[in-house]
Symmetry: C2
Subunit: 586 residues, 2 copies
């Protein structure tokens, strides 16, 4: 037996007991006549003592050779510490060692195994197995396990059935790029890895499974933006005989359960906001509502006053930054530079300070008088000491620019407290969005989303104006879940494929099985999917997902620890009836 | 709201309540003036009544048009049935319908949606979404969900952390064939889908995760034998600072928990048997111990008596078939033909009847006298009325043939009761097996399995004789789990790769990251993996796994419902820098 206790367990209760522990050497303090060694495992740290006078000589000598990260087993007696460490669960005791076995030696790790490590991202990923020994990473992985079990418990208790859907499915050109898998037994043909189990969960509803969930890996072969992974995990759910309201209630329940059981928070009922309102008020369909600075549209107040920059624009819109009127000219210039960066793309930024004496000072004093600026301030609900920032341009870009500025200021002003949780349902998304490049409609959510039932006529006359029973759950400015009521009518589904530019043949070849299924008694149904990686990160109080994933890939989609992807043996390619078209030089 | 209750819920308690139900029309009985309709959902069946006198006329008329599998919503009043159905949870009541909405019509399904369907396998798979509506399939999927949740609860309570390992990993030529995934971003390179998360779970142990589990899809591109799937699910587990005994206890605990919580069985401690004993006694490393007919070796009794068939053979071995002496000559000839089939491959079968009068009658009376046969009977523990069946030949083939015969007879004699559960640990597997074809050793379990610690010397002199701390959990003649103590020493792992015929370069290229990891303080560790599909099927009392999988593939690895795999668009191939090498005709 390697251990009687783990390293986070012993306390004064165990005084004088003989114990066996196994773990890693965290650090040694060698005073010559006495050695203190911190022994670490998943559960904690226990201090060992090797004492020239009280430890057998051979053991004491062996202890001299212990290095960091050596794996050892010891036997010893629990004794009380002279100077207790109140920050450690085992801080009241230490173990006086009688016997020591070195189970495995260790080379010096390439970075320190401590909360604050000296290892950079690349090095940490290459030696991820060492990185995981650090509490900071280990705790995140354990936290993820806890969240995912809490999800399972809630959904199982609510009658959801965990059904595994296949990973080897069929490629569909709609949406993002698929990862594909050549079939050896069906030469020249390919499976695809699922971007989501969407059609399968709908078929489970057609099959009468009623309430389905699955925590499932999904795959998307996209050029990776920061903090995206080619494989990611979804909490995938679907329900039958439900309206939007039923789904929102069910999954608000799930999210509340997580906030309660994981974070100890009793949340209020989640606010709801239409897509249109979110775009108008926050310039964004996933607003962070932990802080204000909501948008105030100023067209009627700001146009026609001779300020040419505003006059011709579709939208003039501002935010009132709380207590920022004290900003220096240099600081404001910094903001102006920030919004002009190519990532944001604004042409400039107008500012108005709401001074302590009730006056206003602006960058456009030439064009607007005191009364004008007072009206702006009233519209923006600006208080004394606030700073109003105004952008103008076409609605779409301007909202997006001001939204970015708002988030940046929220961050700079410390208004985005990671331990505060502000969930929000965004509803009534448009069904379709027009794509200028391909000159056709794309599904805003996916091709299976149902239009609002009272807008079926509008779908024929003005598809772009049709709204869907589609909804996102937003948490602290991140979309953590999204779903919709689905189409369950074969004719309507076929109409949708037409609108999305599928020929009848393409629709049949790719989704014939689904449209067939709809002819055999498909029930009304709908669902939602949560991004588990993101959800866990936000609940864990972080913005980046990478350390909540045990073995993440880098921005080129590579696992640098195992060095994948890699070349294949020629005979593997031959068995798959494939060859690569690269020239030698590549 | 689509329903106030589901279809398995209403009883006399709800009498006179107004209810709303939604579901599928299971069947109609139309008596002209009254129509009874069985309404079905996941939870049960509720009988609806449309009565000419009591139902609104328009509703009654609409009800005339209802066909099987129509999806409907009704409102009505719960009333007491005149003739109750005690086999139905809702059998005491029916619902007198006031209002009827047809939510979706249905074409006549290609097979009947009943427990015993008229649909063949191919048809059922093509319309799997209809097949799943049948209780027989639906219950199996719900059973699977229940088992997998019970596994999660047990392991979570025991301190295991659910860690997701990556699906896009690296191909390794060792073992079965990988499915591979071309990388677009890393042109000419491929990921592989995991055959198991083996190396990752070991790295989690090196990373100090201590106790890991995951219920995870794995992939193997093999020519599919009956009842194998290219993608399958594993309960994958690993532990640190454990010996074999710790692992057997932990996972015997898991299996007992499943037998108790799922089947209501209180199992005894599981028996254990070495691989050698299993092969000698059952001819098989996964013996079904629900019944006897253990092997009796007869070489010393049966050789040198002038019967040439036996004399030159490595092994003469028999089984006593209980109460089978009554078999007719024709029945015995049937058995002889059975063992001579190419799938079994025996040359013939010798039989001895243990007659009621104490005499023995055999097919080899010419060579063996009464005393000889009595000795055989004694060796085989044969009782009066038993039939001894004897095979001979080389040990390996003969054991395998007799094992197949034993299983066949167990089946025919009804000794394999699916509701009886006989778990067994098989231990002490050989580390390596010699492969005549490639003239080299293969790992019996996998290349990471540790030899028994006291046999490290033997590994140099006679590798084939070395045993491993490897174990299988066998249930009713099926291997449901298998695992081992792993190597955690870099030098020993390197020696293993040598033995398995890897060059230093190959070992480094494929498993360098693991051997690197072993140098930074790798702890002793071991684990096990259960095949969830098989485990669930056996617990469910069935031998075949297919209906415990929502969307299985057929024997050619195809999903015939969605028609995958399929050809790719040319531009998808180009993006992947690939082309197929098929000639046009293929």
């Amino acid at each position: 037996m390697y251990r009687t206790h783990h390293c986070g367990e012993l306390s004064l209760e165990h005084l004088n007991q003989n114990v066996t522990l196994s773990g890693w050497v965290q650090k040694n303090r060698n005073k010559g006549f006495i050695i203190w060694t911190d022994l670490r495992d998943r559960y904690g740290i226990t201090q060992l003592v090797f004492d020239e006078e009280r430890t057998p000589k051979a053991v004491f000598e062996k202890a001299q050779g212990l290095g960091r990260e050596f794996v050892i087993q010891i036997q010893g007696t629990v004794i009380e510490r002279e100077s207790k460490n109140p920050n450690l669960s085992t801080g009241a005791i230490e173990v006086l060692v009688d016997d020591l076995t070195v189970l495995n030696e260790a080379k010096t790790p390439p970075f320190t195994i401590e909360d604050q490590t000296d290892g950079g991202e690349e090095l940490r990923m290459q030696y991820r197995y060492l990185d995981i020994r650090r509490s900071a990473v280990k705790e995140k992985l354990m936290f993820r396990s806890k969240v995912s079990m809490a999800v399972r418990n809630y959904l199982t208790d609510a009658g959801f059935v965990d059904v595994e859907t296949p990973y080897l499915i069929k490629s569909t050109p709609e949406g993002a790029r698929d990862f594909v898998v050549p079939s050896r037994m069906n030469a020249g043909q390919f499976y695809a890895l699922p971007q989501s189990p969407q059609t399968f969960k709908q078929l489970l509803m057609v099959g009468g499974m009623d309430k389905y969930f699955q925590i499932v890996k999904c795959f998307r072969d996209e050029d990776l933006r920061a903090d995206r992974q080619p494989e990611f995990t979804q909490i995938d759910c679907e329900m039958t005989f439900v309206e939007q309201e039923d789904i929102l209630n069910q999954f608000e329940g799930l999210t509340q359960h997580l906030l309660k059981s994981i974070k100890g928070i009793e949340p209020n009922p989640f606010p709801r906001m239409s897509y249109e309102e979110a775009m108008k008020t926050y310039g964004n369909d996933k607003p962070d509502i932990r802080f204000g600075m909501t948008f105030c549209e100023l067209n009627d107040l700001a146009q026609g006053k001779g300020f040419g920059v505003f006059d011709s624009q579709e939208l003039v819109v501002g935010i009132a930054v709380p207590q920022a009127a004290e900003m220096t000219r240099k600081e404001i210039d910094g903001l102006i530079d920030w919004v002009k960066r190519p990532q944001i793309g604004a042409k400039g930024l107008i500012w108005v300070k709401c001074n302590a004496d009730g006056s206003h000072k602006s960058s456009v004093d030439k064009f607007f008088n005191a009364a004008d600026l007072a009206q702006w301030a009233a519209r923006c609900n600006a208080k004394t000491g606030d700073l109003i920032l105004v952008l103008s341009g076409d609605s779409h870009s301007t909202r997006s620019q001001l939204s970015a500025l708002r988030m940046e200021l929220g961050e700079r002003l410390g208004l985005r407290n990671p331990e505060e949780f502000a969930p929000l349902w965004v509803t009534d998304f448009p069904l379709l969005e027009w794509d200028e490049e391909s000159k056709r409609y794309h599904a805003m959510h996916h091709p299976f989303t149902a239009p609002k039932p009272d807008q079926l006529e509008l779908l024929k006359t003005n598809p772009g104006a049709v709204k869907a029973n589609a909804y996102d759950l937003v948490l602290n400015g991140n979309e953590i879940g999204g779903g919709s009521i689905r189409i369950h009518d074969q004719a309507l589904q076929s109409q949708m494929f037409d609108l999305l530019g599928f020929s009848k043949e393409e629709a049949q070849a790719q989704f014939g099985f689904l449209m067939d299924a709809f002819q055999f008694g498909a029930p009304p149904h709908g669902g939602i999917a949560f991004g588990l990686d993101r959800l866990v990160a936000i609940l864990g109080g972080e913005e980046t997902i990478r350390d909540f994933i045990a073995f993440p890939k880098n921005n080129s989609g590579r696992d640098i620890m195992i060095d994948a992807p890699a070349s294949l043996d020629q005979n593997q390619l031959e068995e798959l009836s494939l060859k690569t078209t690269l020239t030698k030089k590549e």
